[in-house]
Amino acid sequence: MGDGAGTAHGGGLTPDPTPDRAPDVASDLLPDLTVDLTADLTPDLTADLTADLTADLTADLTADLTADLTADLTADELAVRVLMHRAVAGIQPVPGGLPRIRTAVPRRRAARRGALTGALALVAAVAVALPALHTADHLGLSGGPGSPHSDGPATGVPAGTTADGSGPFGASPRPGPVPGTAGQPSGTTSSSPSPGASSTRADGGTAAPAAATSSGDGPVVPLCTRGDLGQGSAQAGPADAAGRIYGWFAVTNVSGHACRLGGPGAVSVTGVSGTDRSRIRVTDHTAGDPATGLPLADTDPPLLAPQAGYRVPFAWIPDPVCPTTGQGGATAAPTGATGPGQVSLTTQAPAASGAPASGASAAPSSNAQASASPSTGPTTAPTPTGSPTPNPTVSNPPSATIAHTPAPGSPSAAAVLLPGACAGTVYRGGLQTVDGPASQPSGTPSPG
């Protein structure tokens, strides 16, 4: 069928590669292909195609393609093939392609690595965050309904620091719950997270307000919420000759379950009369300060059984002189002046008390027993609120009202009036458990 092939490729489209195959090509497709190619393409193309395609393509095609590739192609397939190559033959790459790829490949590799790293980081973050969230949720729920302290940075957040609770994390507040120790909420409180407190505790073994971690591996006891604590009361004794007033705040676990107090709570000045508020300082009792009658600061926040309570003893030590004209209750006693270091500590207790101001669920009725109700303290002489102190006072005696806010936060549980308080320092002593089978009595060594 040499003539058939001749007509099929009459334009010289593929003159060389197809002589062997021409018979079947012609038998299959040539009737219309011949018409197509010859009629349509030949007039236009063959001149050019013959000219340069034959020169270029057929050299290569004949060399390595004819044998295997084009041997199976029909004539119109070959024509399409040629047309395709022809159609794009003029396309040349733009010059900048290789440098662009060269710069983009490392970036793409970095992006792939970055994506991989990001995915790994995400996995790690999720792996850490899920137990953490679980822990936080668990503690918040077990702490009681509402658990307003769950966000409080200063009070009540159980920083599960050490697994056994034996580590001396005196005053290092951990910022959040550490995953993995959910079962042992060793109540490291950050109620007074002062680094200086730990140092003083190291010195004198006293007065670290920030409690150490629990030493027991006991059962998991939830932290006291503010709603668990009630029946706040306060008692202030009469001023002695030096104007010192000793007293205490008392708070009871009114819930039906035992709870662990998250911290000693705070004592703060809530109001003054006849004096300047800045003259009333509040600090924690440390060894060597004038408030020698106070128990030393607690080492461990107590565990409160139902109906058990705790007391926060305090002492009012007036300054030797009242800076203003209004005379203080007792100006004579030249007791030891409060050092400036203690003054700096005073700022911390109010800061701790004010932390979780968001809705605590406690009944505010505990504030009702605010001012020095003399009903509870049989040992001390009643000091009515408005009445003058045993010291003779002027018609407008200065006074200050201090209040105790339990560890979970506001509202304050009790407040007491300090009559005759002009300028001085309120010292907060260590917590003392009362009235109940507190399983964790606060180790309060006798004041030395």
Binding site: L57, D76, I91, R108
Partner: protein, 181 residues
Amino acid sequence: MTAVAPGAADSGAGTDAGTSEDLLTETYQAHYRSLLRLAALLLDDLSTCEDVVQEAFIRVHAARRRVREPEKTLAYLRQTVVNLSRSTLRRRILGLRLLPKPMPDMASAEEGAYDALERDQLKTALRGLQRRQREVLVLRYFVDMTEAQVAETLGISLGSVKAYGSRGLAALRTQMEAGHG
């Protein structure tokens, strides 16, 4: 014009790629032009073709594993070009234009009017085909793949390749006739 022949590109890839330390340059010189022309048959915008082929190079070379198999590099490149062309046609945007690029000089001076006419005819006809038909025809006749290779590249069965090929040829002929008449 010798680079038009894909056989030359194939042979160059098979012998050299992977042994040189600058693999990228080598594969670029060996395959870029033919891949660009392959993309030009699948797409119509030459600037997009450059984007597609460059993206294929970037992808294949960013994955070192692929380049370590030099005998498969060209196959990966082709497959990526086909897939990118397809998705580009679908979306009409590539979104990875790295730099503004000049248009390639597609019409050289000595090209005659017949060439341009024929080329446009073919491209118009190709554009009128179904996408699968066009891909099969281009891979089969421009890249000179066997039907099995086309099937592997496109991820379709051999029978589909045959069907797309035959129908594509018929449709192409129809289109060419219509375009010419």
